[in-house]
């Protein structure tokens, strides 16, 4: 993938930077340019919002056969997380065993290496999560 494609979303991937609608107060990740609830009223009223990275596991899976760029990491846990401030995020759950994980557990964001494009390609960093309970 072109470096620019990853680079332009660095703030979202590194810092969980989303957006907040000034009209209704809803928070979105990744950031949105228009609020899907307030529509036209939200034009020009969406401001940057940094999520805390704290959330709750709504679902999870152990991935055994993944995408080619994640082949060296299998098996790994992928979690569907409700962020405390609103909206959801999908990320790997690390530093724990699958037997410890259940729906409803609290998690926090950690900054990690996500994947690498071959031996000499770009290394991509971003958010993963660990149990915080």
């Amino acid at each position: 993938m072109a470096v620019a494609r990853f680079w332009r979303n660095q703030d979202q991937r590194y810092n969980l930077m989303g957006s907040e609608c000034e009209i209704c107060g809803r928070k979105f990740f990744p950031d949105k340019t228009m609020c899907p609830v307030c529509h036209r009223k939200s034009i020009g009223k969406m401001k940057s919002f940094r999520f805390s990275g704290n959330g709750t596991i709504e679902s999870y899976t152990m991935v055994h056969v993944g995408m080619p760029q994640f082949k060296s990491q299998v098996p790994y846990i992928l979690a569907y997380i409700a962020l405390d401030e609103g909206d959801h995020v999908l990320g790997q759950l690390v530093d724990c065993d699958i037997s410890e994980v259940s729906i409803g557990m609290k998690v926090e964001m950690v900054f990690r290496k996500i994947s690498q494009e071959g031996k000499s390609g770009t290394i991509q960093y971003g958010y993963k999560f660990r149990l915080s309970g």
């Binding site: 679902s59 899976t61 152990m62 993944g66 995408m67 992928l78 999908l90 990320g91 699958i98 994947s115």
Partner: protein, 392 residues
């Protein structure tokens, strides 16, 4: 949304066998399905006003775009310069192509249209295929963080089990049923029955889903001939009417939805289709639904209103959707056993319903089938399309 301005019907159907068709090119698959449909409709090629083709990604899988022109050349309709249009909505491309063709006929712009769907997926390795398949979901916010398409459905499955008490055995029973049906379909990729233990003990893909919970990678094409009802009656003894058509969208990424145990796009599309046809879920005699993953069939039969929310797994496990059940689902074998060449699936579903309504589904015929439904979904439900078909 209201009614169509002209009634539309299916005059003919055709499809190739689905599977690993290494000896057949995309062009050959497409023309084989198209020729069968034209022969079945008993029409001359010169009657054809327009052509639609549903295809997700010839660019990724075949390194070739502009396949509308390729197909029109292959079927020999370049003399009349018949317009050809490619339509894309991931694995809902086939049903979406049909929906556009319905509108073109209903608006009076065309009388007879060939609607095809095709995908050539086995010319790339399975690794590469799983990467391309993920392009129907969100590569940037799901894929780049480690999600594969089956892992997204695994998340839905785990939450469905948690919220509604759906069991692993109930989910696995979808694959058992669909393989039993596929064993009676000569066009199916897998024509072999399997038992529950085979599904439960299969290699894991993304827990709780294993290999037998997932669609296979397939090549194949399907086609049908669509016409206004007057033309259809002129050439065809038993045209099958399309009385309802609905379409809904949802977010590309499941992270931007409030709930992942239902597909809002399917709920919206089915309501539209039921309203247009003036029927309710209990009127449906036979249905083809988008079982890309076993859990997707359970969610679909709930979204379509066949069973209350949370009851889908129990219904499949207890045989209510089997050939002898109250509402037989995926009599063709579904995506699971018939195979899932992305663009072809939506048309193959319609063709199965046509066969059922014509009472020509031989070993898998549903008794007295008069009204059928097909639900085709793109990715994780970013697009969902529902059609309702009726025999006079």
């Amino acid at each position: 949304m209201g009614k169509l301005l002209r009634d539309v019907a299916i005059m003919g159907i055709g499809q190739t066998r689905f599977g690993e068709m290494w000896d057949l090119s995309f062009r050959i698959l497409g023309i084989q399905a198209g020729m069968k449909a034209i022969k079945d409709a008993n029409i001359e090629s010169k009657l054809i006003d327009s052509l639609y083709i549903g295809n997700m990604s010839s660019g990724l899988f075949m390194d070739q775009e502009h396949i509308s022109s390729m197909i029109i050349e292959e079927v020999g309709l370049t003399g009349a310069h018949v317009p050809a249009t490619r339509v894309e909505a991931a694995d809902a491309s086939g049903a979406l192509a049909l929906r556009q063709a319905i509108f073109e006929i209903a608006s009076g712009q065309s009388n007879v249209i060939v609607v095809g769907g095709a995908e050539k997926m086995t010319d790339v390795t399975s690794d590469v295929a799983s990467d391309f398949i993920m392009a129907g979901a969100d590569k940037a916010w799901e894929g780049l963080f480690g999600a594969s398409l089956p892992s997204l459905f695994a998340l839905m499955a785990r939450k469905h089990m948690h919220d509604f008490g759906t069991t692993r055995e109930q989910i696995a029973s979808v694959a058992v049923k669909n393989h039993a049906n596929g064993a009676r379909n000569p066009f199916a990729q897998f024509q072999k029955e399997i038992d529950l233990d085979t599904v439960l003990n299969a290699p894991k893909i993304a827990e709780p889903l294993g290999v037998f919970d997932c669609f296979p990678v397939s090549d194949g094409a399907a086609a049908l001939i669509l016409a206004d009802i007057d033309t259809a009656k002129e050439y065809c003894g038993e045209p099958i009417r399309i009385t309802g058509s609905g379409q809904g969208s949802d977010t590309l990424s499941i992270t931007n939805r409030s709930e992942i145990t239902m597909f809002d796009s399917t709920i919206k599309a089915s309501k539209q289709a039921y309203d247009m046809a003036g029927v309710s879920p209990s009127d449906i005699d036979v249905a083809e639904v988008h079982d890309s993953y076993t859990i997707a069939e359970i969610i679909a039969i709930e979204d379509l209103g066949f069973f209350p929310k949370g009851e889908g797994g129990r219904a499949v496990f207890e045989g209510e959707t089997s050939l002898e059940g109250s509402i037989p689902v995926n009599t063709s074998g579904g995506l699971k056993a018939r195979g899932h060449p992305f663009g072809a699936t939506g048309i193959a579903q319609i063709n199965e319903i046509v066969l059922q309504l014509r009472n020509k589904a031989s070993g898998r015929q549903v008794k007295d089938a008069r009204i059928g439904l097909a639900q085709n979904m793109g990715g994780t439900g970013g697009t969902s399309i529902v059609h309702i078909l009726e025999v006079d």
